[in-house]
Amino acid sequence: MDFALTEEHLMIRDSAREFAERSLRPNAARLDAAEEFPVDAIKEAAEHGFLGLTVPEEYGGAGLGNLHASILLEEINAADPSVGVTISVHMSLFCSMLAKHGTEQQKSKYLPLLASGELIGAYCLTEPNAGSDAAAVITKAVKVDGGYTLTGTKSWVTTGPHAGLFVVYAVTDPDAPKGKGMSAFIVEAAYDGVSAGKKEEKMGLRASSTTEIILDDVFVPEENVVGELNKGFNIALDTLDGGRIGIASQAVGIHRACLEASIKYSSQREQFGKPINRFQAIAFMMADMATDLEAARLLVHKAAWLRDNGLPCTKECSMAKLFASRACNKAAQDAVQIHGGAGYTKEFDVERYFRDARITEIYEGVTDVQRIVISRNL
């Protein structure tokens, strides 16, 4: 057992923290209020090489793993979870998916562009009637000369109109049992017939862009099928294991921001003649918050370590996501509580953390889906 992070881990943490404090935190409230996609922040993250962190070196990335990514994402999310989710989806649901399942041709064509941030990746699985029941997708891919034509509507696509590449899961064998006839396709945003639909008005993560992606008779060349035909659902699920590490890391980041804000406010705010952190009611809330944070982070790091070592990790990824997202929401509720009336206003960041935290228990598998995964693996 060795809980120490390597120098390389610490270097990533420090450079990500420096970037987050300098370029993300000062703008987060403004971008949230304006619902403005953080174009400059994503560009700067690309310049730091963060977008290609997990892309193999031969394709222009840093060739690092899930634990490195988790450490990076905690820092980014502690400052701005809207930027955090954009990077997490790009990294874990696109880059890592392609690096693992893509052909040599797909990888050499797309990974360098993804690593440099020239193209941002997005993930299209969910549909209006396929949420938790993801195998129920009806977007169809019909075989034509030289490829497939895709038709359907994908919902809740993170990064939507700002993405350059989508991985789209569509039905290639409608007669196969549910989930057995689905394939994964790389779809360029520039292809004819791809458009962004309705933009979601969300409680939080308001600077991230979440839209429908509409596929209207989109021709996708044969060579853009990822992995084996009709085995796409397995890729979708395997990818989500990694994605859950990303979202769990996001939860850890928001959780830490809540704790840090609470420590700061409770040491400055005086009531009944002393700083409120001297009251057990407040101090114990923070003790629980800190303990939960530690537990969540350890679960996330363990899941990332398992995945980096090629060990089975499906159950552990779900456990990390389940625990970290719930703990994060408790922390956000308590952080607002510690701030009292002030925390209910936009003068303090905890108001935003409270709204941002709520999504971590929903996307990339709601909590009950994590429980399905965990219980089936027992």
């Binding site: 949420g131 409680m203 407040i282 607002v336 009336g341 108001e351 709204r355 709520r358 929903i362």
Partner: protein, 391 residues
């Protein structure tokens, strides 16, 4: 009188209020709730409808233009409105319990004549200003000062988070007359909106209850006649504490309504939404969430109605109000949180009301005494009774 608090049936009058307000809330308030939240503006048409139903004066005697109903009827009205719109529930609760009741209970004949008819008819709203930037949970540390100068007090200081302020004609405020006396030096006064030296500033943007108005108040050498004092000098703080006891029942009713509204939404959505080939409510995980919500809401309703009945019976209700407020507001947090969970991604979207309900619910565990303040009250009451029983 013995069955006063064990009779769980509603009277015909109480049922009538419930049915009338329920229908009104669904037809008139609900359609505008999302708009009010999004645009951060009070739904004035909804208030006008509440005025027509005589809700602003519901629990006050007809002598002052009130409707003469009991406090339980009033709690039920707040509950039914909050079920579709927390902001309008809060508007009514703050107007009745905080803005009007202290004048009704403690005001001089002159003050009552000046303000109660307008408050009861809903011509204008009432507001209550206790909280200051430096005096939140520690409300006795009021820094706003009142210095006697002839027949007038000169007021200086600032108040924050004053609900309904933009629409209020009169403001019940606390001031410190003599800092050396601590809470005994606190006095309550009613200040008219038009008083020179009294400035009303817009409040900060809020997480929720965005369709409810709040303002910040500034007093700069504001001169107020002596007859604006509410109750006896030196008893201002207890006047405020008593006002808050009633206010807590209303926030408990508000919480109860929000929780019930979240359950209403979760029931409808889980019945209609299918995943894995069946409606969501056929999955145990979802059905059991609904069962937990229902159980907690029933318990909260008993507590809210019990506290209301105690007040109607003229019995002490401070501790009952605190337990009801603490419990019901936490139930509202859990119910709205779980309702979003049942809605999944849609629950995070502003297209469905549960997203707003969760943000609104968070006010309930903070306003009119945080959950922590309620626990101070509940535990002190408990320890006092323990000590007196064990002499």
């Amino acid at each position: 009188m013995s069955d006063l608090v064990t009779n769980f049936d509603l009277s015909e009058e109480q049922e009538m209020i419930r049915d009338t307000v329920r229908q009104f809330a669904r037809e008139v308030i609900a359609p505008g709730a999302a708009h009010a939240d999004e645009h951060k503006e009070l739904n004035e048409a909804a208030w006008d409808g509440m005025v027509e139903l005589c809700l602003p004066g519901l629990p006050f005697s007809e002598e002052w233009g009130g409707a003469g109903f009991d406090n339980l009827s009033y709690s039920i009205a707040v509950e039914e409105i909050s079920r579709v719109c927390g902001s309008m529930g809060l508007t009514l609760a703050a107007h009745v319990s905080l803005g009007t009741w202290p004048i009704y209970a403690f005001g001089s004949q002159a003050l009552k004549e000046r303000y109660l008819p307008g408050l009861c008819s809903g011509e204008f709203m009432g507001a209550y200003a206790l909280t200051e930037p430096g005096a939140g949970s520690d409300s006795a540390s009021t820094q706003t000062t009142a210095v006697l100068d002839g027949d007038e007090y000169i007021i200086n200081g600032a108040k924050c988070f004053t609900t309904n302020g933009s629409y209020s004609k009169c403001f019940v405020i606390t001031v410190q007359t003599n800092a050396e006396l601590g809470s005994k030096g606190i006095m309550a006064m009613v200040i008219d909106r038009d008083q020179p030296g009294f400035i009303i500033e817009p409040g900060e943007e809020k997480l929720g209850m965005r369709g409810s108005d709040w303002v910040n108040l500034v007093f700069q050498n504001c001169r107020v006649p002596k007859d604006a004092v509410l109750g006896e000098e030196g008893e201002g703080f207890s006047t405020f504490m008593k006002t808050l006891e009633g206010g807590r029942i209303s926030i408990a009713a508000l919480s109860l309504g929000i929780a019930q509204g979240a359950l209403d939404q979760a029931l409808a959505y889980s019945n209609e939404r299918e995943q894995f080939g069946m409606s969501l409510n056929k999955h145990q995980a979802v059905a059991f969430k609904l069962a937990d919500m229902e159980t907690e809401i029933q318990a909260a309703r008993h507590m809210v109605y019990h506290a209301s009945r105690l007040k109607d019976a003229g019995r002490a209700y401070g501790a009952a109000a605190a337990t009801a407020k603490y419990f019901a507001s936490e139930v509202a947090m859990r119910a709205t949180y779980e309702a979003i969970q049942i809605f999944g991604g849609n629950g995070y979207s502003r297209e469905y009301p549960v997203e707003r309900m969760y943000r609104d619910a968070k006010l309930c565990v903070i306003g009119e005494g945080t959950s922590e303040v309620q626990k101070i009250i509940i535990s002190r009451d408990l320890l006092k009774r323990f000590a007196s029983n064990n002499g």
